[in-house]
């Protein structure tokens, strides 16, 4: 609120950082909305897991990383992380659409992405030891890189997560585990999935941890900066729990959550919160820009041929 008023008085008090953060979140939001539209229009085959509502996590955390040095390992809900880390709209869109120009040539699709220092895989939890191994590699190289792995709260059901926390702690690995705690695993609420206390699970293995219930990208960024700082300076792991919420269904399909619950969460929409940092014109300008950018990408993608088969390649 305070911010809103201030925003009212000054046309824009947003530093380039706020503007950039908002822009990135808006891009991700528009991208994910577009995918759902394309599905509805029958232009997409397969599945996708959109992160609408969780954009502040991806953007806040990744704004603290160095794409040319740090490593990011993501999961099934990886589009926001990917776009925040690479800004590669075309490569991702075409990958999901199975068109020529997809970042993995159409082989991986929505949840199996690779580009530069970014990796994702669709088997929950399996990514955590892989990220730990990457952290070990970077430590041995002395690159000073941090390996960040994004997981959801439901993924805390996977034992390999604890095997890996134990080893990351024993071996002092520069590993940042970010838990996007949106309260659900697919259709199942966390209360039916998680006993005890999430932070304690990391602490029990001697891993530093903190938990933050915010949709303010600046607060997420601050928390992430501290976590990344911890990992980079001490070379030991950190377990960052971010309470969040997805407005969109788990994938394309049905969503049985209480509409009032969703509506209540929408009041804390990270985009609305961040918009408060910008002037209205600035916000509209950005909104238009990202809409244009995504729309253009879609137009071009729809014109592109489907991913080339080996036969065609021959």
């Amino acid at each position: 609120m305070g911010r809103q008023e201030q925003a009212g008085t000054a046309p824009s008090r947003a530093g380039t950082d706020e503007r950039a953060l908002y822009e990135r979140m808006a891009l991700i939001r528009r991208f994910e909305e577009t995918l759902l539209e394309l599905f509805a229009a029958g232009e997409l085959h397969g599945t996708t897991h959109t992160c609408i509502g969780q954009e502040a996590d991806a953007v806040g955390v990744i704004s603290c990383l160095e794409p040319e040095r740090d490593v990011v390992v993501s999961n099934h809900r990886c589009h926001g992380h990917y776009l925040a880390f690479t800004d590669d709209v075309d490569g991702l869109l075409r990958e999901v659409m199975g068109r020529v120009g997809g970042v993995c040539g159409g082989k991986g699709g929505s949840q199996h992405l690779f580009a530069g220092n970014f990796y994702s895989n669709g088997v929950l939890g399996s990514t955590v030891p892989v990220a730990a191994g990457m952290a070990l590699a970077e430590r041995e190289k002395g690159s000073g890189a941090v390996a960040t792995v994004f997981v959801g709260d439901g993924t805390l059901g996977q034992g390999v997560v604890y095997e890996s926390l134990n080893i990351a702690s024993l071996w002092r690995l520069p590993l940042l585990v970010v838990v996007e705690h949106n309260g659900y695993a697919q259709s199942t609420p966390s209360t039916l999935q998680l006993a005890g206390d999430v932070e304690s699970r990391a602490r029990a293995f001697g891993v530093a941890t903190s938990r933050h219930d915010t949709t303010d990208v600046l607060e997420v960024q601050a928390a992430a900066r501290e976590a990344v700082e911890h990992v980079r300076s001490t070379g030991t792991p950190y377990f960052l729990v971010l309470d969040t919420y997805r407005f969109s269904p788990h994938s394309k399909g049905d969503d049985f959550r209480d509409p009032e619950e969703i509506a209540a969460r929408r009041l804390r929409d990270p985009l609305t919160v961040a918009a408060g940092l910008l002037g209205d014109d600035e916000r509209d300008e950005i909104t238009e820009a990202v809409e244009r950018r995504v729309a253009d990408a879609v137009q071009e993608a729809l014109g592109a041929p489907f991913a080339a088969t080996e036969a065609a390649a021959r």
């Binding site: 397969g46 082989k107 929505s110 991913a307």
Partner: protein, 339 residues
């Protein structure tokens, strides 16, 4: 006509009704969701105490299911995607499959693992595999492979009544297709013979089981591909084939295969898993060893190309076996009668 998914769901309701020892464990089972593919819908409402929605902990729920079975229950475990069976494989290989034998035959492990295999949904490399090929190498379990023309309800009921641990391998695409059953010994244009006993094989013929050119042995989600190929072979190549849809791939019951082979002399295997180390390999090895003289030529295998199942439909189509691949294989094994 019921869709295959509905038939399985209906069977689950009957099984739950009949036997209190039956429990269901798995992810996202609660209504209204009823499981990722909806096969378990309605159960949690009617039997809330016997439907246990689990955390995302495949290894543990395999073990918990085994513990239930060892102590007198008949649990069913739903694994959301067959690809995730790999997470429970230690429990399967070093526990579930071994308890009975290593405990000197004094225990049984009557559990059923229901899981969908298969591609064609664009889910990508980690969500599209047909990994039953790995299971046939594990002695001590039974692997059941219903097709859309099998009595799905009866087979699932048999699996739950089975004292051996059973993997009940479903198919994602099959769920949405009608559960076509033989009527008067026919399904559509084709004569269809159903074998005896549990998990029977189905044998299809385009000429009333007269002498034919080749036998296509398949199972599960590949049956429609085999049947389309058989039809195309008749119409466009005047080649007659029999199609055998195995109801169980472990233990492998060769009798219906050899029976058909007697009328055809040639064999083509068709599976959705990748080629190497697949079901077709065991089938070919068994058949050539046990029926060498009945073969006019080698057994040929049609399967998914060794490698990943890509996400893009254009690439997925190329990797998976299609009607044309089956037609080519049948033509290659040579023809006895028509052609």
């Amino acid at each position: 006509m019921m869709r295959c998914g509905q038939a399985l769901n209906a069977a689950l309701h009957e099984i739950f009704e009949r036997d209190e020892r039956v429990y269901l464990l798995g992810e996202d089972l609660l209504d209204p969701y009823g499981g990722a593919f909806k096969i378990s819908q309605g159960l949690s409402t009617k039997w809330p105490e016997r439907v246990l929605p689990t955390p995302v902990s495949e290894a543990s729920i395999f073990g918990i299911t085994a513990g239930l079975a060892l102590r007198g229950y008949r649990p069913i475990l739903e694994i959301m995607f067959g690809d995730f069976v790999t997470l429970g494989l230690d429990q399967v290989v070093n526990g579930i499959a071994k308890f009975r034998a290593m405990f000197d035959d004094r225990v049984t492990v009557p559990l059923v693992v229901r899981t969908p295999m298969g591609a064609r949904r664009g889910y990508g490399p980690t969500h599209s595999q047909s990994l039953e090929k790995l299971l046939i190498g594990v002695p001590g379990i039974t692997v059941v492979t219903p097709s859309e023309c099998h009595d799905l309800g009866a087979m699932l009921t048999e699996a739950v009544a089975d004292d051996e641990p059973v993997f009940f391998v479903e198919n994602k695409v099959m769920y949405g297709r009608p559960n076509r059953r033989p009527e008067g010994g026919r399904i559509g244009e084709l004569a269809c013979h159903e074998g005896e006993g549990r998990y029977p094989a189905l044998t299809f013929s385009g000429n009333g089981f007269g002498p034919s050119d080749a036998t296509i042995v398949t199972y599960g989600g590949m049956l429609p591909v085999a049947l389309d190929a058989a039809t195309e072979l008749i119409l466009e190549h005047e080649v007659f084939t029999e199609v055998v849809a195995l109801g169980r791939i472990l233990p492998l019951d060769l009798e219906p295969v050899l029976d058909s082979l007697g009328r055809t002399g040639s064999l083509v295997s068709l599976e959705e898993g990748t080629l190497t180390g697949g079901v077709g390999a065991e089938l070919a090895a068994r058949v050539q060893a046990e029926a060498w003289s009945a073969l006019d030529g080698p057994v040929l295998r049609v399967a998914t190309r060794d490698g990943i199942v890509p996400s893009a439909r254009s690439l997925e189509d190329e990797a998976l076996p299609g009607v044309e691949d089956v037609v080519a294989a049948v033509t290659a094994v040579g023809t006895r009668v028509g052609g």
